[in-house]
């Protein structure tokens, strides 16, 4: 017999403030409206009717960084574009998160040359990397759900958790059994 059972009869639910805040942030994320290259086409595909990102409360991209809290870097960032991306990130209001979508944004991808920033994490701190060239909309949605899980683990103090380092590959094939 806890207070929850009695209070629930009255239409009251008790929970922690941390949980409510993270729940609210998770279910109403506002992505920033910009795309840098071909990955943006897949991002638009993820937002359209077939894949329907509005299931996660993300149906509208905001064109103003003041109103956005999620930056999806969709595409390669050229050296000339890098200061612009950083300025957009600085103009976004806290709390804010970054998804590096695609190989180019994650590590430079196939463009290992002078013109492209070798990973957007040199410019802005990245929360989730989505691999693929370009990633399919399912992969982007998976990355967004991974970000949601990360946001829900955030503390009310605002401290972000440290990056997760994988000690082993995600996909492991047991050769001996085959």
């Amino acid at each position: 017999m806890g207070i929850e059972e009695k209070a629930a009869d009255l239409g009251v639910v008790t929970t922690s403030l941390e949980h409510v805040v993270n729940w609210g942030r998770t279910n109403a994320m506002w992505p920033l409206l910009f795309g840098l290259a071909c990955c943006a086409i897949e991002m638009m595909g993820a937002q359209s009717a077939n894949y329907d990102l509005s299931r996660f409360g993300m149906e509208i991209n905001r064109a103003s960084p003041r109103q956005a809290d999620l930056m999806i870097v969709a595409g390669r960032v050229s050296r000339k574009m890098a200061p612009v991306v950083r300025r957009l990130y600085d103009q976004m209001s806290d709390p804010k998160w970054v998804i590096a979508m695609g190989d180019c944004a994650a590590c430079g991808g196939i463009f290992n040359n002078y013109a492209i920033v070798q990973g957007v994490d040199e410019v802005v701190p990245v929360d989730v990397y989505v691999a693929g060239c370009p990633p399919r909309p399912e992969a982007l949605i998976d990355g967004i759900m991974m970000l949601h899980a990360k946001v829900q683990r955030e503390k009310i103090s605002g401290v972000k958790e440290a990056p997760i380092t994988l000690q082993h590959a995600l996909l492991q094939v047991d050769v001996a059994k085959k």
Partner: protein, 172 residues
């Protein structure tokens, strides 16, 4: 207008400015001395028998290991005669300068800026020879053949610790 007629006109007028000529893919290519470059282009544009009034293309090529190392390639088109001619200017590595074509063909403006930006050819007489594609504070000319081809060592599991220790990750 055909290649031989044009070549005859050119030889009559600028015989000592022509270093070499050849024909490739039906197109006349003329290697010129760079001192005569603007005069030849102006004459090709203004002569009523020729009227090469359209600068189709201006770019620079780096032949590393050859002298002269750089070459500026210019294509002029005569809309009147439906004919194209290619001018080539060899430029030495120590002094890659060339007179600007911008006073004659205004469209040369951006193309000369691009050749300066990526290849480091300096066009004297250009109204504003600044970088056009790369950031203004860029050092070097990356389309030169002696520019490093690869920007960054590729990280694998066996060397990622060493690479990521040097990589400038962004802070909040």
């Amino acid at each position: 207008m055909d290649n031989q007629t044009l070549l005859k006109h050119l030889r009559d007028r600028f015989g000592d400015a022509i270093l070499a000529t050849d024909e490739a893919h039906g197109e006349l290519r003329v290697n010129l001395r760079r001192e005569a470059y603007v005069a030849v282009a102006q004459w090709l544009r203004d002569d009523p028998a020729l009227r090469y009034t359209f600068l189709e293309n201006l770019c620079a090529v780096d032949y590393l290991g050859r002298t002269p190392r750089f070459e500026v390639v210019v294509h002029l088109v005569s809309m009147q005669h439906i004919h194209r001619v290619c001018l080539k200017l060899g430029l030495p590595e120590a002094d890659p300068t060339l007179d600007s074509l911008t006073p004659i063909f205004p469209t040369a403006n951006y193309q000369e800026r691009e050749a300066f930006d990526l290849m480091g050819i300096r066009f004297t007489g250009h109204p504003s020879l600044t970088r056009i594609l790369l950031p203004d504070d860029w050092v070097g000319h990356p389309q030169r053949k002696d520019h490093p081809l690869v920007e960054e060592e590729i990280a694998f599991t066996f060397n990622q610790d060493r690479i990521y220790a040097q990589k400038p990750f962004a802070k909040e």
